[in-house]
C-alpha cells in the first residue's frame, strides 16, 4: 500500500498542471466563443495552392 504515498502526490502534480493549462486557456480567450470551434474540423485547412494571386484570376463572367 505504500505506493499510495507516491501516487497521490503524483496525481496532485498532474491536477496542478491541468489547472494551469485551464487557467492559460481562459486567459487566452479560448472560452469566449463556444459556437465556432466545433465547426473548425469540417473545413479544409490546406487551401489549394494553385491560386497564388486571386486578383490575377478574377474574371467575373465566364
Amino acid at each position: 500500500m505504500s505506493i499510495i504515498y507516491v501516487l497521490i502526490p503524483l496525481a496532485i502534480i498532474i491536477v496542478g498542471i491541468a489547472i494551469l493549462v485551464f487557467f492559460w486557456a481562459v486567459k487566452s480567450n479560448q472560452f469566449d466563443d463556444l459556437e465556432r470551434q466545433g465547426y473548425s474540423i469540417l473545413f479544409d485547412d490546406d487551401l489549394k495552392k494553385d491560386t497564388p494571386k486571386s486578383e490575377d484570376k478574377k474574371q467575373l463572367n465566364d
Binding site: 500500500m1 499510495i4 504515498y5 497521490i8 496525481a11 496532485i12 491536477v15 491541468a18 489547472i19 485551464f22 487557467f23 481562459v26 486567459k27 480567450n29 472560452f31 469566449d32 466563443d33 463556444l34 459556437e35 465556432r36 466545433g38 465547426y39 473548425s40 469540417l42 473545413f43 479544409d44 487551401l47 489549394k48 491560386t51 486571386s54 484570376k57 478574377k58 467575373l60 463572367n61
Partner: protein
C-alpha cells in the same frame, strides 16, 4: 449540414433573385445564379481565394453583397490616419492590434472564411473571430500592410468592418466572466480529487485504513481544499463583507460562516488528529454555489455581447474649405465657424447651417422618418445624416462633441442609468430567510452546547449548509436562462434577463410609428389608371422605368422586375422626373409638377375617377395625357392589427416624430387611442417619465435612433427587426425576424417563466423548511446536508429546463 437555397433565390444571400441569369458564378463546380453584382463579386472572390468550402458548411445564408466595392478603398483610407488610430489601435510589441466589429457574420462558417481570407494577407500576424459577438481581433505589422487594406480585404468577401471600442461595462463583464470560469474550474477539479479521497474513507475501499493513512488522507485533502476555499470561495466572502459593511444581510453571510467555520475546524482537527473533517463538503458546496452564480452572471449580462458599434453614425471625415482649396480632414478636428462642403451621397460630417446649395437630406437616423427633408440657405443640418442629392456648403455651428448624434447618445446613457431598478422576488425573500437561518442556527448552537452535546458545532454547520438558499438563488436565474434560450431559437433575443420578469407587470404598451407599426418605406397603396391607350402592365412598366432614374425613396414603391431604357432624363428635385420612353414623352411627379406640364390638369384628374387631386400623390402622364395616379404612402405592416387587438388588456399609445395627419390616420386605423405626433426624442422621454411617476410599467416598441433614449428609459423595451444599432443597443428585447406578432410570444413566455419561478421558489423554500428540523435535531451530518442541498438545486434546474420544450 449545409443549407439549401430554393430555386429562384440568390445562392449567396438567399434573397429572391429577380435578375435571372445576369450574375452567374461557378461555386462547387456548378454554375449558380446571384441576385446582384455585389453578391456576385463577393462569391467570386471567395471562390478565387480557394475558400469554397464556406458554401459547403455554412448554416445560414450570407448578408447581401454591397455593389459599391470600387470606392471603398478611398473611404477606408481614413482609417490609416494616426489621429484616428490612436483611439482604437493598440501597440503590441512591434505589431499593432485592433478590435473590429464585423457586420454580416451569420454562422460559424463566416468565422472560418474571415480567418482564412485574412491569413493570406502578408504582414498580418494573427486574426481571431468571435462569431457569437461578431467581432474580430486582428494583429498586423504596420510596415508591411495598412489597416485600410485589411478592411478592404474583408469587404471583398462581403463583410463590413469597423473599429470597435468596448465600453467599460463590457470590459468589466469580460474580466468577471473569466475570473468566474477560473474559480469554477479550480473548484470542480479539486472537488473531484477531494471527493475521491473522502469516498475511500467513507466506504473503506482499501480494506482497513489505519490511522496513519487516515491522517495522510486528511492532510492531502486539506492541501487540496485550501486553494478552493481561498480562491474559488472568495466571491462569497467579498460579497458578504460588502453586505456587512452596508449593514444589511445577504445570502452570502451564512455561506461564508459555514465555509470558514468548517475549514478552520478542519485545520484544527487535522493538526490535533482528533474530530471530524468535512473538506469534501466544503468543496462540493463551493462548487455548486459557484455554478449557480456563474449561470446568474451569464444570464444577467448577456446584453453586452450584442452591444454594437455606435461609431458608425459618427462621421469620420469632412471636406473643409481652406481658402480656395478643399482638404479632407477628420470631423472631430472641425471648429465652430469652419466651412465644409458636402457632396451628394455623403454623410454630413457635423452640425451646421447651410450657406449655399440645395439638397435633400435623409434625417431618418435622428427623426425616424424616412422622407427626405429639403435643406436650403440657412437651414440647420445635423452630423450623421445623409445628403441624398445636391451639393451644399455649410458653416459649422458646434463641434462634433456637442453634435446632435452625440447628444442623443448621451441622452440614452443617462436614461439607461436612471432606469427603475428591479427588486427581484427571490432577493427580497432570501433576505428574510437569511436572518431566520442565522438566528435559528445560533439558537440551536446555544441550546445544544448548554445541553453539553459535543456535536453542537457540527449541528450548527449542518443547519447553515442544509438551509443554504442555493436553490432559492438558482430559482430565478435558471428559469430566465432557459426561457431566453428557448426564445433565442425563435429569433427573439433577450438582452437583459430580468426584462422577462418585468414584462408580466407591464401596464402600458407604447409604439413608435415609422418602421415599427408601418413598413418604414413607401408602398403603392392604391392606383387609378386610364387603360384606354395602354394596358395596366405597360403603365406600371413605364412608370417604374422612369422612377428607377431617381434616388428618391418614393421610387422604391414601384416594382423593379423589368425596366425600359429612358432617354433625356430630367430630374427636378422635389417635384418629379421627365424622360422619353419608346419615343413617348413621359412625366411622373407631384400634382404641382404635372399641373405645370398639363393644360387641363384638374379636368384630367376627374376623368381618372379621383374626387380630388389630394387622394393621390404621384401622377403620371404620357404624351401630355394623364393616364395614371398613384397613392404612395407608408403602409401599415400586415399582422399589426391583430397584434394590437391581442394587446387589449394594456393601454396602447403611439409616440411618433411624424406629422399629425399621418399619426392620426394610423391610430384610428389600428384602434389605438393615445397618440402623440411630432415628438422629439426628449419629448418621448418625458412622456415615459411621466407614466413612470404614475407608477405605470411601460413597454416601448421602437426601431430608430431617435427611439434609443426612450427605449433605454422604458421599464421594458423591444427593438424590431431591422432596427438601428443604437436602438438595438438600448433595447432589452430584440425581435430579429421583425415580425411584430412574435411580441405576443415574448409576453406569453414571460408569463410562463414567472409561473416557473414561483414553482421553483416554492420548492426551494419547502425543502429548506422540511430539512431544518432534522438538522436542528442533529440527525443530519454536514456531508448529508451538502448532498441534500445539491439535489434540491438540481431539481430546481431540471424544472427550469422544462421551459425549453
Amino acid at each position: 449540414m449545409s443549407i439549401q437555397i430554393p430555386e429562384g433565390h440568390c445562392f449567396h444571400c438567399g434573397l429572391p433573385n429577380v435578375e435571372g441569369d445576369r450574375y452567374p458564378a461557378t461555386i462547387l463546380k456548378i454554375e449558380r445564379l446571384m441576385c446582384c453584382p455585389g453578391c456576385q463579386a463577393v462569391a467570386t472572390a471567395i471562390v478565387n481565394n480557394g475558400l469554397e468550402s464556406y458554401y459547403e458548411f455554412r448554416t445560414e445564408t450570407a448578408a447581401r453583397g454591397d455593389a459599391a466595392l470600387d470606392n471603398a478603398l478611398s473611404q477606408l483610407a481614413v482609417y490609416d490616419e494616426p489621429e484616428l488610430q490612436e483611439e482604437f489601435v493598440f501597440d503590441v510589441g512591434k505589431h499593432k492590434e485592433i478590435r473590429l466589429t464585423v457586420e454580416g457574420i451569420t454562422c460559424a462558417a463566416c468565422g472560418w472564411l474571415i480567418e482564412k481570407q485574412l491569413s493570406k494577407v502578408k504582414g498580418l500576424k494573427q486574426v481571431s473571430v468571435n462569431v457569437a459577438a461578431r467581432r474580430a481581433l486582428v494583429t498586423w505589422d504596420d510596415t508591411e500592410v495598412k489597416l485600410s487594406s485589411i478592411l478592404n480585404r474583408l469587404k471583398q468577401i462581403g463583410y463590413e468592418s469597423l473599429p470597435f471600442q468596448s465600453d467599460q461595462h463590457e470590459a468589466s463583464y469580460q474580466s468577471e466572466q473569466k475570473s468566474y470560469l477560473k474559480k469554477l474550474g479550480l473548484a470542480g477539479l479539486m472537488t473531484m480529487q477531494v471527493m475521491m479521497l473522502a469516498m475511500g474513507q467513507y466506504f473503506d475501499l482499501f480494506g482497513n485504513i489505519d490511522n496513519e493513512m487516515q491522517r495522510y488522507f486528511n492532510w492531502i485533502s486539506l492541501i487540496l481544499t485550501t486553494p478552493v476555499v481561498l480562491f474559488s470561495g472568495s466571491v462569497f466572502y467579498v460579497s458578504a463583507l460588502k453586505a456587512v459593511l452596508a449593514k444589511t444581510v445577504n445570502m452570502d453571510i451564512p455561506v461564508t460562516i459555514a465555509i470558514v467555520a468548517t475549514y478552520i475546524a478542519g485545520i484544527i482537527a487535522v493538526n490535533k488528529d482528533t474530530g471530524e473533517v468535512y473538506f469534501e463538503s466544503i468543496c462540493m458546496f463551493i462548487f455548486f454555489l459557484l455554478i449557480s452564480r456563474f449561470l446568474e452572471h451569464r444570464s444577467r449580462h448577456k446584453a453586452t455581447q450584442i452591444s454594437s458599434n455606435m461609431l458608425k453614425y459618427i462621421p469620420v471625415t469632412a471636406n473643409k474649405w481652406m481658402g480656395e482649396k478643399i482638404e479632407s480632414v477628420l470631423a472631430k478636428q472641425l471648429k465652430v465657424g469652419d466651412l465644409v462642403l458636402v457632396k451628394a451621397g455623403e454623410t454630413i460630417p457635423i452640425d451646421g447651417i447651410v450657406t449655399g446649395g440645395i439638397a435633400h437630406v435623409d434625417e431618418s437616423m435622428l427623426t425616424g422618418e424616412f422622407e427626405p427633408v429639403k435643406k436650403q440657405l440657412n437651414s440647420m443640418v445635423y452630423g450623421g445624416t445623409l445628403n441624398q442629392d445636391g451639393q451644399i456648403s455649410l458653416k459649422v455651428t458646434s463641434t462634433l462633441k456637442h453634435a446632435m448624434v452625440n447628444q442623443i447618445l448621451r441622452l440614452q446613457e443617462t436614461a439607461l442609468a436612471s432606469k427603475p431598478s428591479v427588486a427581484l422576488v427571490a432577493d427580497k425573500l432570501s433576505r428574510y430567510f437569511v436572518i431566520a437561518v442565522l438566528a435559528i442556527s445560533a439558537l440551536t448552537y446555544t441550546y445544544w452546547s448548554s445541553q453539553g452535546n459535543p456535536e453542537a458545532f457540527w449541528i450548527c454547520i449542518s443547519i447553515l449548509v442544509a438551509t443554504c438558499p442555493c436553490a432559492l438563488g438558482l430559482a430565478t436565474p435558471s428559469a430566465l436562462t432557459c426561457a431566453m434560450a428557448k426564445l433565442n431559437r425563435t429569433g427573439i433575443l433577450i438582452k437583459r434577463a430580468d426584462a422577462l420578469e418585468q414584462l408580466t407587470h407591464v401596464t402600458d404598451v407604447i409604439f413608435d410609428k415609422t418602421g415599427t407599426l408601418t413598413e418604414g418605406k413607401f408602398t403603392l397603396v392604391s392606383k387609378w389608371l386610364d387603360t384606354n391607350t395602354m394596358t395596366e402592365e405597360e403603365i406600371l412598366l413605364f412608370a417604374s422605368s422612369l422612377e428607377q432614374c431617381s434616388e428618391h425613396p418614393i421610387s422604391s414603391a414601384f416594382p423593379v422586375e423589368q425596366a425600359k431604357a429612358v432617354e433625356q432624363v430630367e430630374i427636378v428635385i422635389g417635384n418629379g422626373i421627365k424622360g422619353i420612353i419608346d419615343q413617348k414623352l413621359c412625366v411622373i411627379g407631384s400634382a404641382s409638377f404635372l399641373s405645370k406640364h398639363l393644360s387641363d390638369f384638374n379636368g384630367q384628374v376627374q376623368q381618372l375617377g379621383l374626387d380630388s387631386p389630394q387622394e393621390a400623390n404621384v401622377f403620371f402622364s404620357v404624351n401630355k395625357q394623364l393616364i395614371a395616379a398613384f397613392s404612395v404612402c407608408d403602409a401599415v405592416k400586415k399582422d399589426v392589427s391583430s397584434v394590437i387587438k391581442n394587446l387589449d388588456q394594456y393601454t396602447t399609445t403611439i409616440l411618433s416624430g411624424d406629422s399629425k395627419n399621418n399619426v392620426e390616420s394610423i391610430a384610428t386605423n389600428l384602434g389605438i387611442k393615445n397618440k402623440f405626433s411630432q415628438c422629439s426624442p426628449k419629448q418621448k422621454l418625458d412622456y415615459i417619465a411621466k407614466l413612470q411617476i404614475e407608477n405605470k410599467v411601460t413597454l416601448m416598441v421602437g426601431d430608430g435612433i431617435n427611439d434609443a433614449p426612450v427605449l433605454a428609459a422604458s421599464n421594458v423595451s423591444v427593438a424590431v427587426g431591422n432596427a438601428s444599432d443604437l436602438a438595438r443597443n438600448a433595447a432589452d428585447v430584440i425581435l430579429i425576424s421583425g415580425n411584430l406578432p412574435t411580441l405576443l410570444d415574448v409576453i406569453a413566455m414571460a408569463k410562463r417563466t414567472k409561473r416557473k419561478i414561483k414553482q421553483n421558489i416554492a420548492w426551494a423554500l419547502s425543502y429548506n423548511l422540511l430539512v431544518l428540523p432534522f438538522a436542528m435535531m442533529g440527525v443530519l451530518t454536514p456531508w448529508q446536508a451538502a448532498l441534500g442541498m445539491s439535489l434540491s438545486s438540481i431539481i430546481v434546474v431540471y424544472n427550469s429546463t422544462r421551459l425549453m420544450r
